[in-house]
């Protein structure tokens, strides 16, 4: 059975890589198979690991009299079912209630946490090295890094500041900001290349090792 699995995986890998020559039915077959299996697998798992333990089981326990607390689940189940109101043209307006609850919950939970994680903490991280610099505990290289970071943040933010015309000093600050952005994109692209090549190497390792037994 394991050997069969290896052959299926190897042939599907070759089907996908055949796209490098040109688009063909083998590639499209493998692509559709992958998408279909991924979606199907995700749906089945979501039903078994989400819907059944969190909705069906407690509700069924309440119906059979085992645990009446499960009746409380009728509220979220009912609100969730309102999403299907969209299928009935006369009752489409009912979908506003689950959407309002989702947006309200999502925003309420996210806003304070996201602000702290991505704004306050990042601001602290940008200016904190200056406290160490003031205390005299930062090395020469550390001072350079701290200054470079503040220059990068200020210049990059200036590039995205559209309330004033980019002329004079603002123009030069935003040009420096573009340079920082380019370095960031270059770094991201380099790391992406590393990641994509790793995927190719893993597949080649599988084909040459597990399938063809050319490497141990």
């Amino acid at each position: 059975m394991e050997l069969f699995g290896i052959w299926v995986a190897a042939l599907l890998t070759l089907c996908i890589y055949s796209f490098l020559y040109q688009d063909n039915p083998f590639y499209r077959f493998a692509e559709h198979l992958y998408v279909g299996i991924s979606v199907g697998y995700g749906i089945v798992l979501s039903i078994h690991q989400g819907l059944i333990p969190f909705a069906f089981k407690p509700f069924w326990a309440a119906v059979t009299g085992e645990s009446l607390i499960g009746l409380v689940k009728l509220i979220p189940i009912g609100v969730g079912l309102l999403f299907f109101a969209r299928l009935s043209p006369g009752h489409t307006w009912l979908i506003r209630y689950p959407i309002a609850i989702l947006i309200g919950f999502g925003s309420g939970v996210a806003i304070p946490n996201v602000l702290r994680a991505n704004i306050f903490e990042q601001t602290r991280g940008t200016i904190e090295p200056f406290a160490a610099m003031h205390a005299g505990t930062l090395s020469g290289w550390g001072v350079f890094e701290a200054v470079l970071m503040v220059v990068g943040v200020v210049c990059t933010l200036t590039y995205f500041f559209f309330s004033v015309e980019h002329r004079g000093p603002v123009k030069w600050l935003s040009k420096v900001g573009i340079a920082f952005l380019m370095i960031g994109f270059g770094s991201a692209f380099g790391n992406t290349v590393m990641g994509r090549v790793a995927l190719l190497i893993q597949r080649a390792d599988f084909l040459l090792g597990d399938w063809l037994n050319l490497i141990s």
């Binding site: 697998y41 946490n113 991280g125 960031g184 090549v197 790793a198 190719l200």
Partner: protein
């Protein structure tokens, strides 16, 4: 030149070093070292959470990291709670944990537990902050979480020393936003090459205690635990492909400028 010649060159740059094994030195970066040191400093019987937030399309980079981390944890008697926020990661994580547990003689329910997948990442992370067993009433095999020996003294994040998120998407940011900010849970990450750059701001602020970066990070970790495996093998091959890519970029630019000069 037909772009397919480039594909052939890349294929050769992968296959030749793979057939004739080449060993290049691997130096360890500071973010990887920090995570290794953090786990080494944990007292035995500490518990960490290992989140397998990736699918098969990212296993090339993240599986070698997961194996090294599990080996280090089992060697140091650090207990592991594994879970995933990605449905695709369920079978993948289960197979990988069983493989390393068998290798290290780790016992299911005592040294590790695999809780499986629950939909709704934010709700899962927030719910675990109150009570892990309220979100994962059973583990992946169906055993009641409260009856699993290693879970008896674990209620929520207060008993967890570290969470390591192996991520191919935005899950690390979600863990930081909710588990770190709201519950002060220490977080580290192992990520694919595509999202490394996004993680560095969190590393600089200390919101991440360590970071394993792509296949290079996996190779570094294998060197740290002294168990050379796929990560170290693949990063050597990767170096040859990178050399080829740099060569192609340089050659492409020379050809481009020569053509432009001739046209002028």
């Amino acid at each position: 030149m037909d772009r397919r010649f480039v594909y052939i060159l890349v294929a050769l740059a992968v296959i030749i070093p793979m057939l004739f094994r080449v060993n290049l030195p691997v130096s360890v970066s500071e973010p990887t070292q920090k995570l290794y040191d953090y786990i080494e400093a944990l007292p035995s019987d500490s518990t960490i959470i290992l989140a397998f937030d990736y699918g098969p399309s990212s296993l090339a980079e993240l599986n070698p990291m997961a194996k090294s981390l599990l080996r280090q944890c089992f060697d140091n008697d650090v207990r592991v709670i594994a879970l995933t926020l990605y449905p695709d990661g369920t079978t993948l994580a289960s197979t990988l944990i069983q493989e390393i547990a068998e290798e290290k003689g780790a016992v299911d329910g005592e040294d590790y537990v695999f809780l499986g997948f629950r939909p709704g990442a934010t709700q899962v992370i927030l719910g675990m902050g109150s009570d892990i067993s309220s979100v994962f009433e059973t583990d992946y095999s169906g055993k009641a979480t409260t009856e699993i020996p290693m879970m008896k003294d674990i209620t929520n994040y207060a008993q967890i020393s570290l969470l390591i998120d192996l991520a191919s998407g935005s899950s690390t940011e979600v863990w930081i936003t909710y588990a770190n900010v709201q519950y002060n849970l220490q977080i580290a990450a192992g990520v694919t090459g595509v999202i490394i750059s996004q993680m560095y701001p969190y590393l600089q602020t200390g919101q991440l205690v360590g970071l394993i970066s792509g296949i290079l990070g996996a190779a570094e970790y294998e060197r740290l635990i002294d168990v050379p495996a796929k990560g170290m093998l693949w990063i050597n091959i990767e170096s040859f492909v990178h050399l080829l890519i740099v060569g192609l970029v340089v050659a492409g630019n020379i050809i481009f400028f020569n053509q432009r000069r001739r046209e002028e």
